[in-house]
């Protein structure tokens, strides 16, 4: 690609007079992207998350051994070597392969929690904020009740009632993590609900449902995305915590938290058994945190142009 082509493309994206809906949207996305990619650390975070996605997608190709079957006779608790990069665990399974497959479970938990919790929080918060009065009072008291529960304890109770397993762990985490999103969405809604541009839409004869869905929610989404991204590290850690307590993923699933739990018996002599999945959790959590910080700078509705 020659430099002129790049230059003219940039001009097209940054045009002050976009000629189509598409160009306006792409231009806006491009400005956000430039703000985001100017932040080196956030970029590193994004690379970590992309790497995680790729590893999860190509786990079958990347993993040299089976994640669930090990060689009990010849390769129990081997130290890291060329054959087993991260060593092997007490059942002779290759830890490197298990971590690669474990990325799928990590993503599964994170995405499911985000998909369940964020929309619930957004809906409850915007409806409460916009409706006000009794609706607001009732919805926010329910939120307060959920917020008052200790997260891990409620998740424990939930898993105890429904039985251990990764799906129930996800559900438990989702149920305990939506209230902060509702709070954020409500606060954001309160700041815009009396603005003239919302009044103007009311004067068009728009229904409250339409106003919340099409005019208020888009304004809340960026702060919600930031918060969800920053929370993802916490979600991974809670899932790992539940796995560690034996209430999340069950053996032989290669879930990182459960792997640490099974490795803690040999943590002094065979440190790699617990150390490798711990390191994986650390890297991915760090990636989400860096990404979240970068998104905060790029998407913050109060920074730069509105």
């Amino acid at each position: 690609m020659s430099t002129e082509v790049v230059q003219s493309r940039r001009d097209w994206l940054l045009s002050e007079r976009p000629a189509s809906r598409m160009q306006a949207r792409l231009g806006r996305a491009y400005v956000t992207w430039r703000r985001f990619s100017a932040n080196r650390l956030a970029f590193v975070g994004l690379l970590i998350i992309i790497a995680l996605l790729l590893v999860a997608a190509f786990a079958d190709v990347l993993a040299p051994y089976s994640p669930t079957f090990g060689d009990l006779k010849g390769s129990r608790l081997l130290a890291p070597s060329a054959a087993h990069w991260f060593g092997t665990d007490d059942l002779g399974r290759d830890i490197y392969s298990r971590i690669i497959y474990g990325s799928r479970w990590t993503l599964y938990v994170v995405i499911l929690v985000a998909v369940i919790a964020a929309p619930i929080g957004l809906l409850v918060g915007t409806v409460a904020g916009y409706a006000g009065g009794w609706t607001d009072a009732i919805l926010m008291r329910i939120t307060d009740i959920f917020l008052a529960f200790p997260k891990l304890i409620l998740a424990l109770a939930f898993v105890a009632a429904l039985g251990p397993g990764i799906e129930n762990a996800v559900l438990a985490i989702a149920i305990t993590s939506w209230p902060p999103y509702a709070r954020i969405a409500r606060a954001e809604t309160l700041t815009v609900r009396n603005s003239d541009y919302i009044k103007a839409v009311q004067l068009m004869g728009a229904s409250p449902f339409r106003i919340v869905l099409r005019h208020i929610m888009p304004l809340c989404i960026s702060s919600l995305i930031i918060r969800v991204t920053l929370d993802m590290a916490g979600i991974i850690l809670t899932a790992a915590g539940l796995g560690f307590l034996g209430l999340g993923a069950q053996p032989p699933l290669p879930e990182w938290g459960a792997m640490i739990a099974s490795g803690r018996r040999f943590v002094l002599d065979q440190w790699w058994v617990a150390g490798a999945p711990g390191f994986a959790i650390l890297i991915v959590s760090l990636g989400f945190n860096l990404l979240g910080d970068g998104l905060r700078d790029a998407l913050d509705p109060r920074s730069g142009d509105q």
Binding site: E16, D196, Y197, Q202, L203
Partner: protein, 252 residues
């Protein structure tokens, strides 16, 4: 000529504060009617009450012969539209001009949206080059033109104008006022216009009402105001204030 808009004994109460104390007025069809008064005199509140944005305690509002109930219906919004004071606050920050103009058409189920948007932009002198811009890519005058286009796109017969030019600088003010005047003549609109600028009111309106602390204190015609033929001291003070700062003669 019959009344396009009549208000009778309107009271607006915000949390025990009486913002409007039984105001009545009648605007004839095709007329431009002005509301003047100092800040806090209730002129904007009257406008918002008519639009359904302020809590009405008592009194009645009649639009084109129909008395309004507690809730406004869609038919009302096709008759009455409003232009807000602050062009920086009245356009959604995350929507293009195109989206802004499409919204009322989608709500009221117009099929020929494309044509109407292009026509509306032409009418306010913006042209299609502005169609896909965001509000932050527009100047104050351009934003107010977009707001006027949005108000006109439903083809209302009555336009409520809440100090439509007070946030703009002088040269842009004149442009926007001329645009409003032109649109009114072409579409035979009825204007109810709030302003604290008496020059604008005398230029735009035939009749006007002077308000003070939630009450109507005087009804005048524009020529009476120009000729200083006013009955109340309050109006006289307003007139004096509008003449600006006058250096008093030094007593030597």
């Amino acid at each position: 000529m019959n009344a396009a808009l009549s208000v009778d004994g309107l009271e607006v109460i915000f949390d025990r504060f009486r913002a409007l104390k039984g105001v009545s007025l009648e605007v004839r069809s095709g007329e431009s009617y002005g509301l003047v008064g100092e800040s806090g005199s209730g002129k904007s509140t009257l406008l918002r009450a008519i639009a359904g944005l302020a809590p009405i305690a008592s009194g009645s509002i009649t639009v084109n012969g129909k008395t309004l109930g507690k809730n406004r219906d869609k038919a009302f919004y096709r008759e009455v539209q409003m232009v807000f004071q602050d062009p920086y606050g009245s356009l959604h920050p995350r929507q293009t001009v195109d989206r802004l103009l499409q919204e009322p058409l989608a709500i009221h189920g117009f099929a020929d949206g494309e044509k109407r948007i292009i026509r509306a932009l032409d009418e306010v002198g913006l042209g299609t080059g502005f169609r896909f811009r965001y509000a932050h890519q527009l100047s104050g005058g351009q934003r107010q033109r977009v707001a006027i286009a949005r108000a006109l796109i439903l083809e209302p017969s009555i336009l409520l104008l809440d100090e439509p030019t007070s946030a703009l600088d002088a040269s842009v003010q004149a442009e926007v006022l001329n645009l409003l005047e032109e649109v009114r003549r072409r579409r035979k609109l009825t204007f109810l216009m709030v302003s604290h600028d008496l020059a604008i009111i005398t230029h735009m309106c035939e009749r006007l009402m002077v308000m003070q602390s939630g009450e109507a204190i005087e009804n005048l015609t524009a020529s009476q105001l120009v000729g200083h033929r006013v009955a109340k001291d309050y109006t006289r003070n307003l007139l004096r204030a509008s003449e600006g700062f006058v250096r008093t003669a030094r007593a030597d």
